[in-house]
Structures are given as C-alpha cells and as structure tokens.
Symmetry: C2
Subunit: 416 residues, 2 copies
C-alpha cells in the first residue's frame, strides 16, 4: 500500500518553519506496512490545495492531509478536498451544537468563524479532536475506479498525534491486512558510520526480512541501528529481530552501549547506580556540558554529586586542588592536568569516581603543539587514573560534544 502525506500551511513554506508531523505519521504508516512515496507541502491557497489532493489520490492509496482545519479564512482544507473529489460540504448541525457547547463550557461566546469547523465533506466520518476544536474527517471512497482512504487531520502536533492514534489507527487496522511489528534500536558511541556499516553489512544483508537502518543521528559520535521486522505473528517478528540483534551484538560486542534505546547518559548513570558508586566531574573545555548531560536525566542526583567548571586556572587549583606548578610546567591542556583534575575533584567530593576534562575547543586558542580539538580526559577511581588524549575535528560545539561522549563512554567501559 502506498501513501502520500500533505502538510498544509503557508508558514511551512517560509524559511522559519518546517513540517515535522510527517515523521510521526511515516513511522505509524510504516508499522502498518504502508510506504510513504511522496510528501507535499502546500500553502493556504485553494487551487494549490485542490491540485495537491487530487494528485495524491491519483498516485497513492492512502492520503493524509494535515492542517488547514482551523476557523479562519486561511483554513481551506475542507472545501479544497471536497472539490478535489467532486463532492460538496455541508454544515453538520450536531457537530455545530457540540462546538457551541464546548465554548459555552468555557464561558466564551463562540466566534461566528468557528461554525466553519462543523463543515463536513459529503460521505465523511467525523474524527474527534480530544485536544482542540478542529474535528478531523475520514473518507473511504472510490476515486478513479480505486478504493482510497483519505484523512483530514489538524496541524498542531499534539492534536494530530492524538487523533491519528485514537481515531485513524483502529480504522486503518481493521482495513489493512494484519501485521505484527518487532522493533529494536542498538546504539554505539564514537564510531564512524562507514566503519559500522562495513562490519555489519555482511551480517544484516543476510536478514532480508529485517529492515536495517544505520543512522548517524543528530549528535556526532552517535550511531543508531534500527531493526524492524513485520510478520503475521508477533512472536515470529520478535524472534527474527532478536536473532539479528544478537548476531550484531556478537560482532560489535562492547561497542554497543544500549540495546534498549537508552541514552549514553542514562547508561553511565545506570552502571554507577548499580555499583552504588558516585561521580564528580571537573570540566574545563566542555564548560558544563558533561554535567548538563548527566543532570538532564531525572534521578541523576542518586549517583551524580556535581563538580566544578574550572574554566580559569585559579579555579582548577581552588576547586580541584591542581597544583599551580603543575599547570605552569605542563600547561592547562595536558594529560597531567586532566589527571590532577580527576583526582582532585574525586578527593574533594569524596566521590567513587572523578572525571577531569581539559582541552582546546576552538575556534581560537590552538597552537602548533596544542592544536584546536586536542582534549585530555581522565577517569580516576582513587587507585588508578586512566587518561585519554584525543584530537577531535570539527567546530567548537562538535569538539565539546565528542569530549563528553568519550567521557561518558569511559565511565561505561570502566563499570560494565
């Protein structure tokens, strides 16, 4: 089954806004075994809307139109879709009454415009909007001699998602052939996409019935492996995904940090908590990013004590007891200072583990000897301190991100 998603709204044709609803819908449709072959973004203009709807009905089986269901003059989806399929719209008095009531409950007089939201396309079922005033519409029609499913959904993401989940999904499931989906995400840190693909392609290509997607996602130093399998029963689908997942885990071994879609922060904190251990950090070049990532996890205070942002040399000495002479001798960006930061912050906070990070995030501050991107990360457990030297490439944000990614991974590897 093929589908097209149409996102309606002139604001989606500006440099400032972007349709993101279609990502959610694509995932939902894929899970039902439906492929999205076109996405069209169109402004609030009737002829364009009519054209977009007609095209989509001509080339696909399932058409979802999002947006343009509001009460203003710019909201033209209802009349445009009606015109595209050659039927009329009429005001639904029952729906109108419901709208009036809804406003009355909030002690607001309903603006005349809103009556428009009770216009229903001939032959359409009304889809309830639990989160807003714009009802959706469901059409199961014959167009060009073929059966077509056509849905009108509101544009605001929360309303759209709720309506699709509660109203459209059950209808689609009752029409489309039964299909069970198993899905898993494996995550790896600090590896290039090409290297992951080179090692895994010989494995996953043998599982033609499991759709494998390797993604270098939003942040650098993070690779996600999505495994998806659709079968007539859940057990079979799950078994296939699990079998491929364990082959992959065998190959990549401890390079995989999560097989259940956790973040690297969550994993590091999980290991700390499991061992009853605590952590403190002394960050120079990452300037709080590592702490921020750890504390973005709710409940992180159980293992993360805090730490110091030792941007100035004086604070390296005051908060992490790094001897001034050490900084003078080796320079603030050095393995020795990273080690002293990790040890110092650990002792000062009486944490089980201490991390020290120092480096040159750029774009300025580099030299021939100590170039931009050079970072030292130390992890101390009181007995021994591991220090890693890396030369990261990319801009300031990227260097800082990689450094925190490596620091989190060092904790994980130490404790796993």
């Amino acid at each position: 089954m093929l589908s097209e998603i149409i996102a309606v709204g002139s604001e989606l044709l500006t440099p400032y806004r972007q349709d993101t609803n279609s990502l959610f819908l694509t995932e939902q449709l894929n899970n039902l075994g439906v492929r999205v072959i076109f996405k069209t973004i169109v402004g609030d203009r009737r002829p364009h809307l009519v054209q977009a709807a007609r095209q989509a009905l001509e080339r696909t089986d399932i058409v979802i139109v999002m947006g343009g269901l509001g009460p203003t003059e710019d909201d033209l989806t209802r009349e445009s879709v009606a015109s595209a399929i050659g039927v009329s719209i009429k005001r639904d008095t029952e729906l109108l009454t419901t709208l009036y009531k809804r406003f009355a409950e909030r002690r607001i007089t309903m603006p005349e415009n809103n009556a428009k939201q009770s216009d229903v396309i001939e032959g359409a079922e009304i889809l309830l909007n639990a989160q807003g005033t714009a009802p959706g519409q469901w059409l199961d029609i014959v167009f060009g001699g073929h059966r077509k499913l056509l849905m009108l959904l509101p544009g605001p993401p929360a309303e759209m998602k709720a309506m699709f989940t509660n109203e459209c999904l059950p209808r689609l499931r009752s029409i489309l052939p039964e299909r069970h989906i198993a899905y898993r995400v494996l995550k790896m840190a600090l590896l290039p996409e090409s290297q992951v693909d080179a090692r895994l392609a010989p494995i996953y290509t043998r599982y033609k019935d499991v759709e494998t997607t390797i993604l270098a996602v939003t942040h650098p130093g993070e690779i996600q492996l999505h495994l998806l399998c659709a079968k007539p029963t859940q057990a079979v689908a799950q078994a296939r995904v699990n079998e491929l997942a364990s082959k992959i885990e065998e190959e990549m071994d401890e390079l995989i940090y999560s097989a259940q879609n956790e973040t690297l922060e969550q994993i590091a904190l999980y290991y700390l908590e499991m061992r009853g251990a605590t952590l403190a950090v002394a960050e120079s070049c990452t300037g709080g990013l590592l702490s921020q990532r750890l504390t973005s996890v709710s409940g992180s205070s159980r293992s993360f004590l805090g730490g110091a942002i030792v941007y100035s040399n004086a604070l390296k000495t005051d908060f992490a007891d790094v001897p001034e002479e050490l900084i003078e001798e080796h320079g603030a960006v050095s393995a020795a200072v990273a080690e002293a930061l990790a040890n110092g912050i650990r002792r000062r906070t009486q944490a089980t583990f201490g991390i020290g990070i120092t480096g040159i995030a750029g774009p300025t501050g580099g030299s021939e000897e100590k170039p931009v991107g050079l970072v030292y990360i130390a992890l101390s457990d009181g007995q021994r301190t591991d220090v890693v030297e890396r030369r990261f490439t990319g801009d300031r944000e990227r260097v800082r991100w990689w450094a925190t990614q490596l620091a989190l991974d060092m904790i994980r590897r130490k404790l796993m």
Copy 2:
C-alpha cells in the same frame, strides 16, 4: 515569480530523516523576490521523479531539484529531469576527464559508477561543486510555452549551499529584476508570543511594505521578530526596516535584548566584558546548563571564570560555602540558599558577579509546598543580591532552560 523545491531521496521518506535544505533555499529565494509555493519530497524512483519534475515545471517558474546526483544506481535525478523536459542526456568528456583527475589527485582509482556524474542534460550548463564530486546543472528552457529556470543541486547541505551561493545566485540575479533587501532580527527573552504580538501588531501592521514575522523559536522563552523589506534601492529598504525597528524598540524598550541577532549568552558576556567584569556560577537544578551555554560562546573565558555544579548539599557547602544550618533551616530549594550560593561562589572565585540557582526541575521531587518548576535565582555583586522566585511550567528540560534564560537575562539587565 513562483518556485518549487523538490528534495530527492528515499531516506527523506523514512521516519528518521528530514529535508532541511529547503529552509536555506527558501530564504535565498525570498530574498530574490521569489515565493516558494510547493515543496515536494520524492524517493529515488524514476517515474516519481519524472512526475514531480514535470508538475513543478507546469506550476512554477523556478524549480530546484536537490539530491540524487551521486554515482550510485539510486541516483536518478539527471535522467529523470531530462525525461521530464523531453531531452536526452549525454556524457560530457571534459567533465569526465576532470572527474578522473580529481580521483587521481587523491591517488584513488575512480570507480566506474562515478562516470555517471559526467552525464549532462541536453542544453544544461554545468555548475561546479567546490566541495564534492557531484556537479550540478543549470537549465534555462522553454517548457509549456513559458521560460523556466531549473537547477539540479547536490543533496549534502554544505555542497548544496556552496553551489547555490557561488553558481546559481549570480545567474539568478542577472535574470531576475533587481531587488534590494534589508533584514533585521530583534530578540526578546521570557515573553509569551501572544503578548508580544498584542503589543506590536498595532505598530507593524502600519508598515505593509515590511514583512514582519514573530517566531517562538526552538527554545522556550525566546521570541524572534524578523523584519524584511525589499525595495529598488538598499538605502530605502534599510530606512524602512530601521524605522519600524526603532518604533518596536520604543514600545518594547529593554525587553529587547538583541537587535543584531546575537544570542542571549553573547549579550550577557558582551556586557560583562564591556564592564571589565567577571562571572562565576553555582548551579544546582540547572546542573551545568548555564555554564554550558556561556562557554558555548568562543572567547567566553575572558569574563566567565567557571563555577560549581552543586547537585549535592555537601557540595553546596564545600564549593560555595553555604552553611549546613541554612540548608537545614530553609531547605536546599529556597531563596536563602540561592542567595548564599551566589554570594559564596562570588567570594570563592573573586568574580565581580556570582549567580546561584536552585530549584526542582522535575518530574519528581516536588511537594505541595515546593512544587516541580519552582526555581530561585540569585545574582550577587558583592554589595547586594537580587533573588527571583519563579514557578516554571513544563518538563525537566523546559524548566531548566527557562531558569538559565532568566539567569542570563538578570545579568543583562543588571549591566545594561
């Protein structure tokens, strides 16, 4: 002039990836006086590509097709566009030689596939790709009796942007009527969009020739006002934008933190540096986010000394000299502790200003008396300490963001 942007690539029809190139192109086209009326996203399938290209040529004057110019079998843009306009493609021997040379320079044998990248649509000019191997193509044709401009650009953002800027922009400028654009961005923190609009609509609606867009952007607590004016001369356009900008600045006064598109972090650091002042922070609930935002600005070390992540009570005492009894008496989340954190960290680091933040970011940890979202922020200059109490709504990430936004704004207002 009307335009359509076509983004090519099956990965753009998955739940994982999204076209973002079109935002850049829309801005560029808008600046030339061209409106984007459709965006189409299509997979790597020839019949779909041909259909999309033909449609776009039928309904708009300027068509940009991005992606599908690589060397693999999936890269079908060249042949599909040729077929859409009814011409052939032929291999350009000169271009082929250049490609061979390029690979030879890197001491790599060119894979046979890559020869495909020297296929040129009949009548097309070649657009040089400074950043990759895929050349673009420029067509100035008559289609359906009308003049059409058609550009084929590579998909990777860096390559696409460089090629559009260096190759397409000069060509478009020489064809389209001369137009000068003045553009300004005003930024406000911590105000709701509706309130900004209510105060400013009476002003900006009087400037029909200046396009005003109010955006509640990526992060909560941040409103951007985009002013754009196109006129036959730069001076006239600039004068109109400046006139509206000063009317808006008059109305919003110090609520506007930037009139030149700086970030709030940059502005806070700018004021600190201008006054020769330094800053240190003690963060509890924001867990490093404030430090991270400040240090994301290159050169921040000139005024930001660092600080402490005082997640545990022990660290509040050790790093910011907050008396244990004070925490016991008022609780860690209290105005008194925020004040003590600001004072303590300032004294300890000998900074000009100290900031202390304590609160409950949630989702757990709240109580009736101290609910989730309650945050205290203190700013101390050694003489006096200002403490602000706020109850932010939303999830953990949002509460933390608002808290840092307010802290940065407190610095700005103190120093402006």
